[in-house]
């Protein structure tokens, strides 16, 4: 793997719970609780987990769209948490985000042209209107939309097309890294595959790095080079995507993989059905966070949190089974 473009070290985001008239802090929701990973240039890192596991909060904290509580975020070797507001804004030219909901993430009162010009104006790129128009046309062609539709409003486009506009907006400032937060989960399968192929093509053309956040394991596996599986604010397992799927180590990863319905009526396999729900991140269980739902729970799991260790080169897991 090439030199890491993004290094996230022990990232934490705790949200305070306030109570009473004085709004005293009475507890913490540990949405992200010590997440570390690296993304190389031109690489796709997938972050997968169920709702409430903190994957979106992690994505937004990396861009400092929400301010992290602790940890380091090194982008090109520079700790972006130390940057002042103005410097951070310059840094955002390099790192962009694509949101989940293509219906809510585009301003309905702006035309597509205005939506795509805005980041250029903010970052003082393509200063003349003619240059900007040329760039908008170029961007639309890149994402597979006709440039002749640039003066239309978002509501005139379908969901898949809107997501393409969202991607074009992220590309407008020529970033190195795109954080894609559930970019295809609002789309139908046939349209979803169009957008996934587009992301793939763009990566090859522009040597982009992606942090791809999603709950759909088949989608994450398809697009990612390496994957981190999150549970309750922590990454429990990390590895090359094929290896992780062929030989999941953590009991949670095993359960997650076995729960995905296979689109083949004759496929039969062992299914691990997890009992119960995700515990609240405000009051996580003692020891290993997963132990109340784990089929391989041992005595030590109830009291001691497992360490994050490299069991094979490039393969990390946090589980007492591998002590």
């Amino acid at each position: 793997m090439s030199e890491a473009l993004l290094q996230v070290r022990n990232l934490k985001k705790h949200f305070p719970i306030r109570k009473g008239v004085m709004r005293r802090i009475s507890g913490q929701v540990r949405a992200v609780d010590g997440v570390s990973f690296e993304v190389g240039a031109g690489e796709t890192f997938g972050l997968v987990g169920e709702s409430g596991c903190g994957k979106s909060t992690a994505g937004r904290s990396i861009l400092r769209l929400i301010e992290p509580t602790a940890g380091q975020i090194l982008f090109g070797g520079k700790d972006i948490r130390k940057l002042r507001k103005g410097q951070m804004r310059l840094m955002r030219r390099e790192m962009q985000i694509v949101f989940q909901d293509p219906y809510a993430s585009l301003n309905p009162r702006y035309t597509v042209r205005q939506i795509l010009e805005e980041p250029m104006i903010i970052h003082s790129l393509f200063r003349s209107p003619a240059e900007r128009q040329k760039r908008v046309a170029e961007l639309l062609e890149t994402v597979g939309l006709s440039a002749s539709r640039m003066d239309r409003y978002p509501h005139e486009f379908s969901g898949g097309q809107r997501q393409r506009i969202g991607i074009a907006r992220a590309l407008a400032v020529d970033p190195k890294l795109i954080i894609a937060d559930e970019p295809v989960s609002a789309l139908d399968v046939s349209v979803q595959s169009q957008v996934l192929n587009l992301l793939d093509d763009l990566q090859k053309q522009l040597n982009l790095s992606y942090v791809f956040i999603a709950h759909d394991l088949s989608v994450v596996k398809h697009i990612s080079d390496r994957i981190g599986v999150m549970y309750l604010g922590q990454i429990v397992e990390l590895g090359e995507s094929d290896q992780l799927y062929e030989n999941p180590l953590h009991p949670y990863t095993q359960a997650l993989l076995s729960a995905v319905p296979i689109p083949d009526p004759e496929a039969r396999r062992e299914r691990i059905i997890l009992q119960g729900d995700l515990p609240s991140p405000a009051n996580p269980p003692k020891g290993c966070y997963f132990h109340p739902r784990c089929k391989d729970c041992m005595e030590v799991c109830r009291t001691q949190a497992p360490e994050w260790k490299e069991v094979k080169p490039g393969r990390f897991v946090a589980c007492h089974l591998y002590d």
Binding site: D188, V189, Q192, S218, H222, A259, P263, P265, E266
Partner: protein, 326 residues
């Protein structure tokens, strides 16, 4: 053996600014006793309108314009409200997609489950409460007695969907219509709910009409499948035939555009373009503009459902041209 539910020629339209426009047209299918039928398609293809038409829960601007819905030989189209009410929630029950919004937030869970028992079975308050607790146990809710006295906001999404299933199961329905029952849930919770539905179906010999866009769920749950596109049935057959020998180009496209866990394919195939809008439906085949095999005939004439084999039909001229039994 006659089918439990037989839908034929069903056309449901909605009043819009440009008059009544059909959301589904000429929909035909049947559900046998004890069978799980999957209805698959992408958003806007009419799968929910089909289920709402059967339940007669269409909004005021929608109406069934043509066709018949026979349930145990009884015609449901045009049935009086009072008679329909006796069937709804009793013989035919429904679970909806959104467990967060389909429960009433101001009533206790026990009361909501007991409602249909009081109405359809004439149970009194205590009896219905007791039955509600039994039903909560049936769907695997721990501390059923306590939960019956809680309000819905105290439960997680998966638990609420279990409550919805308990409500649907209250009167031992013969047909359960499940409209995207697991779409709003996480995969591990989805596995729990599907497992529960399979168990209940086996115990009670009911039929399930499962509406979903997830082909994985269809493959695991269903005996037969109806594929819908732009308001029409484009293919139907046994689940094995649909997955092994898909015939309609839309079904083929749909099946090949899902990323699969077990494969290492580099590129997904996708269906170009978008679903046509309800206002400007093409004259010929509705899939023609996105179909790789489209010919002039497809643009001009709409194919009817042609038989591929005895129990497998596809709405495609290719079936005709290949000379397969028409």
């Amino acid at each position: 053996m006659s089918a439990l539910l037989e839908v034929s020629g069903l056309t449901t339209s909605f009043l819009t600014a440009s008059g009544y426009l059909p959301a589904i047209e000429d929909v035909n299918f049947a559900i046998e006793k004890g069978e799980t039928l999957g209805i698959v398609g992408e958003s806007g293809c009419g799968k929910s309108v089909t289920s709402l038409s059967i339940m007669q829960l269409l909004s005021s601007n929608g109406k069934i314009q043509k066709g018949s819905i026979l349930f145990e030989g009884k015609q449901l189209v045009g049935l009086k409200d009072t008679s329909m009410r006796k069937i709804r929630g009793n013989d035919i029950a429904m679970i909806f997609q959104e467990p967060m919004t389909s429960l009433n937030p101001v009533h206790k869970i026990g009361k909501q489950i007991g409602e249909s028992l009081r109405i359809h079975r004439g149970l009194n308050k205590e009896q219905s409460k007791q039955k509600a607790v039994d039903l909560l146990k049936l769907v695997g809710i721990p501390r059923a007695e306590d939960i019956a006295d809680e309000y819905p906001h105290r439960l997680s999404g998966g638990m609420r969907q279990r409550v919805m299933i308990a409500i649907a199961m209250a009167c031992d329905p013969k047909l359960l219509i499940a409209d995207e029952p697991t779409t709003a849930l996480d995969v591990t919770i989805q596995a729990q709910i599907l497992d529960l539905m399979r168990k209940l179906k086996a115990e009670r010999e009911m039929s399930i009409m499962l509406i979903t866009h997830d082909l994985g769920v269809v493959a695991e749950m269903c005996d037969r499948v109806v594929v819908m596109y732009a308001g029409k049935v484009v293919e139907q057959g046994a689940v094995r035939d649909i997955f092994r020998k898909p015939t309609h180009p839309y079904t083929i496209g749909l099946l090949s555009s899902i990323p699969r866990l077990e494969d290492r394919q580099q590129r997904l195939s996708s269906i170009p373009g978008n679903v046509p809008s309800i206002e400007v439906m093409p004259a010929g085949c509705r899939f023609a503009s996105r179909c790789p095999h489209a010919t002039q005939r497809c643009a001009d004439d709409e194919p009817s459902l042609l038989s591929v084999t005895d129990n497998h039909q596809a709405r495609c001229w290719l079936v005709d041209e290949k000379g397969v039994a028409v």
